[in-house]
Each structure stands twice: as C-alpha cells, then as structure tokens.
C-alpha cells in the first residue's frame, strides 16, 4: 500500500503578478517502510516538495493522498492534525525552541496532540535515552552541541509516533562524525518500520536510502533503487 501518493502535483508561487512554477507535474508514490532520498541542486524544488509532503503547503493542482486521505485541499485545522499525528520533521537548522529544555522541546508536538498520552515526560525521557541524551534532559539548545541538538530534534520527531519522518538536510549542519551518527539513527528507524524521506544534496547521505529520487527543475529526473551493497559501502 502506498503511504504517499502524489499525482500530477503542480505548485506555483505568484509574486507581484509573476507566476513561478516550482513543481511541474510531479507524480510520486512511496510505500510504507520505504527509505527514500530526494536529491537535486538548490532551487530544483526539493524543499517545496517536502513542504507539500509535510502538509506545510498545499499544491496548486494535483492530488496528494497521504495514508489513504486526500490532504491536498484540507482546511488548516485538519491539516494541522495530519502534521501532528502522521509526520515527524527533522531540520537542517534543528529548529528547537530557544531557552526551552531538551525534555520540553521533545514534548512540543504533544502540546498540540488531540489525545496526548498521560506519561508525556516519561515518553520524552525514553526517546532522549534512545538517542543517547539521557544526561542532557534539562539542557537548553544553547547548552548542547550541534550533534546533540540534532538528536533532540530526532527524539522530538518521534514523540507522536508518526508514520513518516521528513528530514531536510539532516546532516547539513553537522561534522562528519555526528553526520554518520545521525544517519545510523535513521537507518535504525527504518528497521523499526518508519518511512523515512531524506532531502539532501549530499550523495553519500543519499546512498543510505533504498531509493533515490532526483529532482531537476521542478520535475522528477530519475527514480532509482539502490542495491544493498551500495547502501553498506563505507564512506
């Protein structure tokens, strides 16, 4: 079953009368449990594609069926709920709330959850322990290293137990050691059954995925499966 089903998605932005077409007729199907990289040069439309996949923006035309639900034209209320329940975001710039402890940053999505679990703090602690930060629960982002911050964002993306993890250049702000650590975390999440979509322009990072979709000028240029040998090749 396709978890993500995009059919003929177009997205254009209108700016002072000029219409810029960012996505042109993108059709893309992603199955549950897939590990997908989306690559392409900057300005190709990767981020816009991710914004639409993550329900942060809506397509100008085309259908987007997420987990069996047509989300292309949902209202803000329903769209927010879809984001809250089905998608976990990981950003290049981490995007943690400044001045707020790691523990509270991780619980942020539960603030907006419809039925938050009773043991919110325990769950957050568990997830922070899982990413190796059990000793940093009460540190604020400013007191954490880049690698540690990125691990907090991964814990945050998992707190609502979403089907999909959308990671936008997750290693972009990290040194190679932390980058490798982060990618290992994603590799493990796939094994746990999460669907992971990586947006990157780093081909080595992209190689971790089982499928690489290349975007060029708002269109899909190539869509290829990666063999197991390539995936485990040392960096």
């Amino acid at each position: 079953m396709n978890l993500i089903e995009m059919n003929s998605i177009c997205k254009s932005y209108r700016n002072i009368g000029f219409e810029t077409k960012v996505l042109k007729d993108v059709t893309l199907h992603i199955k549950e449990g897939d590990y997908v990289s989306i690559v392409g040069p900057s300005g190709a439309g990767k981020s816009t594609l991710m914004a639409i996949m993550g329900c942060l923006a809506q397509p100008t035309s085309g259908d987007y069926i997420l987990d069996g639900e047509e989300v292309g034209q949902l209202n803000d209320r329903k769209l927010s709920r879809v984001r809250n329940e089905k998608i976990g975001f990981v950003f290049q710039a981490f995007h943690l709330l400044p001045g707020v402890t790691a523990l509270e940053n991780v619980t942020l999505p539960l603030v907006y959850a419809k039925n938050p679990p009773a043991n919110v703090k325990d769950r957050a602690r568990e997830l922070l322990a899982k990413v190796g930060l059990e000793h940093r629960l009460h540190h604020t982002p400013g007191q954490l290293s880049g690698g540690e911050q990125q691990r907090v964002t991964i814990a945050r993306s998992l707190i609502n137990d979403p089907r999909i993890i959308l990671a936008d250049e997750p290693t972009g702000n990290l040194d190679s050691k932390n980058g490798i650590e982060t990618m290992k975390t994603f590799d493990n999440l796939v094994k746990e059954g999460k669907t992971i979509i990586l947006i990157t322009h780093d081909s080595e990072v992209a190689q971790h995925a089982g499928r690489i979709i290349s975007i060029l000028d708002g269109q899909i240029a190539s869509d290829s499966q990666v063999s197991h040998e390539e995936q485990t090749r040392p960096h």
């Binding site: 942060l56 923006a57 927010s80 975001f89 995007h95 943690l96 400044p98 603030v111 907006y112």
Partner: protein
C-alpha cells in the same frame, strides 16, 4: 484543554522574552497607576468635604444664609452690608423656623499674657449652642444678659484654651482680643480633628453685640444660621427666607440675590459637580495613557512576532493550528496587560499613600480601581493583541521555518 496549553505556552513565551514583556507592561502600568490615583483622589476629596460638612454642625433641618452674592463658599462680592439683625428677627417670625443664629466672624489673634494664637472668633447669640448642640465641659455658654449688656466674655474652644493656658484652668481668666480683655466664662467640649485635618475646636465665641461694637465695628451680619422645625420644611423655609431678605434689602425683581444659601445638599451637589468635572478630565487623561499603553503592547508584540517567526513555524510544523497560535499570542498580550495592571495598581497605591502621608492631596483607596483595572487590562490585551496574534497565525509555516 487545548486552550490551557496555549496559555501555558504564552506564559513560557513571556518568560523567555523578558525584555519585551517588561517594555510591554510599562505603558499599561502608567495608565493604570494614574487611574488608581485618580479614583483615590476623587474619593479622598469627597470624604474630606463630607467630614467638613458634618463638622459644620449642619443637621438635615438647618441651613445657612451668607451675606453677599455668589455660590456656596465663594462670595462674588465682599463687604456686603445689607444683612441686619432685623432680618434675623423677621426670619425667626416665620412659622416653620425653630431657631435663628445671626453671626459675625473674624479670624484674629487671641492673647493670654505672652501666649498667643490665631483663631476664628464668632460673634453669636445664645441660640448658637442650641443650634449646634455643642456641650460645655466647664462654665456656661453666653447668656441673654451677656448679649444685652455687651459684656466682654468669651467661650473658648479646646484648641485656643490649650494653646493659651497649657495645663492651667482658663476659667475666669482674662484673654485679650485687639485692645479689649475678655473673661473666659465657659469651655466647649473637644471634638478632635476631622479626618481631613480641619480643627472644629479652633474657635472662640463672644456675644454678637460685643463683636459689633468692640471687635468688627460693623452693625451688619456675616451670616445667619436657620434651623427649621423639620427637615421636610427646609425647601419652603429657604424660599420664604429668600422673599423676606429680598424685600428687606429692597431688591428689584431683576436684581440678583445679595446673599447665598449653604445647605448640606447644596454642598454635596457642589462637591459632586466639581468632582465629576475633575473626574472627567482625569479619566480622559488615563484613557489616553491606557490607549497609548495598548498601542505600545501592539507594536512590541508585532516586533516580537517578527523575532519569533521561526518559533511560530516550528509550532505549526508540529501540529499547531492557526487558532493555537492566535490564542497563544492573545494570551501573551492579555497576560502582559494584566501584569502591567497589577504593577500599575501597586504603583498607584504607593502614590496615593504618599500623597496622603505628605499631605499633598487627600486620597482614599477603595476596591474600585482593582476591578476597573482588571476589566480595562483584559480589554486592552484583547483589543490590541488580536491584530498581532492573527498576523502570527497567518504566517505561512513553510516560509517561517526557512527564515
């Protein structure tokens, strides 16, 4: 409840953006402080005047007629010489009048050997004591024979008695007013300072006839106090008094009265009117400052939202609805406004107590400003918060996380 979570996030937002929070409270704080002080001054003045009225010895059935046109305590002309003892006699003849006390009044030095003090000296008739109902602690009040024989006798209030005689008994001693010596024949019971600081005991009473011939050298009266048989008869008695005085003073139909009335209701009305005029002006001022406070909140909130675009974007990514963002920022503005209100009430109370303590203005603190400021602050927070909050809520989540 989701809305309480937004409230929690708002509290956190205010804590994390302390600088902006403090700036935002300032405008409202000043507005509420001035409102608090205004209400306290208004109430203080009212109480002061009320206690003054109580100490003027007005019962509900009495009023005063003062020589000279004008209103209340403010004479339009001084040295009106038209009110005479004959007027007083004619007023006493009215069927609804129980007592009439003609008076002269002069502030002057009263001297006992080397001790002296300034006091209010009244020339009155024996009925003064009945009209005031003021008890004696020693000796007797002025008598008819004192009046007939223009005797040089004086009844002292507690304040000049204490100042002139310290711990000695003043009874029978001589005190000097101008160049004449007066024997002390009685002492008035002490009433004590009023709340407003007016001293009703600071007075000396001599026979009206003595006052006319030896003190003021005037044959006309300064005022007449009239006591009606019953308080319900006061209005008709006043009208009758007016007719008699106008006739006695030969005033034409077009001339203004050359006298004026002071009644408890008249004073109250005058106080209320002047208080209202004062209040209108002050309320206008505090409304303007509250409005400015609201605009300050709105502007700083708008700047704050620009600084916090990313935070808003992050919240939206993880499931915050537009309404969540709206409520968060609306809560922030209401909370900040209420915080300003609490600080303003505090500052206002401090100023009010200061004004009273250092005798600048009478103030009286009531619960009113607390309720008023709670209502005003909530309204200001809502009115000036809605625009920034909506603006924050309608930021595109896609663009705000890229910023």
């Amino acid at each position: 409840m989701r809305i309480f979570k937004n409230l929690g996030q708002a509290l956190r937002g205010l804590r994390l953006n302390r600088g902006n929070t403090i700036l935002m409270t300032l405008g409202v704080m000043i507005g509420i402080a001035s409102l608090t002080v205004i209400v306290a001054i208004g109430d203080g003045i009212k109480i002061k005047v009320l206690s003054r009225i109580a100490n003027m010895g007005f019962g509900p059935e009495s009023f005063s007629v003062i020589a000279g046109a004008g209103r209340m305590f403010f004479a339009r002309s001084k040295n009106t010489t038209s009110m005479s003892l004959e007027d007083a006699e004619d007023l006493l003849a009215l069927p609804t009048v129980r007592l009439v006390v003609p008076r002269q009044r002069k502030s002057m030095q009263i001297i006992n050997k080397k001790e002296f003090t300034n006091t209010r000296v009244y020339g009155v008739t024996p009925d003064w004591q009945l009209a005031r109902g003021w008890k004696m602690i020693d000796g007797d009040f002025l008598s008819d024979s004192d009046l007939d024989r223009r005797k040089r006798v004086v009844v002292l209030g507690a304040t000049p008695a204490r100042k002139l005689f310290k711990n000695n008994d003043p009874m029978g001693k001589m005190v000097r007013l101008q160049n004449n010596y007066y024997q002390v024949i009685g002492l008035l019971e002490e009433k004590g300072l009023t709340e407003s600081g007016y001293d009703p005991d600071d007075r000396a009473l001599i026979p009206l006839t003595t006052s006319m011939s030896r003190l003021t050298h005037q044959t006309y009266l300064h005022s007449i106090k009239v006591v009606a048989l019953d308080s319900s008869q006061v209005p008709e008695t006043m009208e009758a008094v007016r007719q008699i005085l106008r006739r006695n003073h030969n005033l034409s139909a077009f001339a203004d009265d050359d006298f004026r009335f002071i009644t408890p209701e008249g004073i109250m009305q005058w106080v209320t009117e002047s208080e209202q005029a004062l209040n209108r002006m002050l309320i206008l001022i505090s409304t303007v400052s509250l409005l400015v406070g609201g605009i300050v909140i709105m502007n700083i909130l708008l700047v704050s939202i620009r600084e916090r675009v990313r935070e808003i974007g992050i919240r939206r990514c993880f499931g915050a609805r537009r309404s969540d963002i709206t409520f968060q920022f609306l809560f922030e503005s209401v909370l900040v406004s209420l915080l300003g209100g609490v600080m303003g009430v505090g500052l206002g109370l401090a100023i009010s107590f200061g004004l009273k303590r250092f005798d600048v203005l009478p103030t009286h603190v009531t619960v009113e400003p607390f309720i008023l400021s709670f209502v005003f602050c909530t309204l200001i927070g809502l009115i000036f918060g809605i625009h920034p909050a909506r603006k924050a809520a309608f930021l595109s989540p896609e663009e705000s996380i890229r910023s």
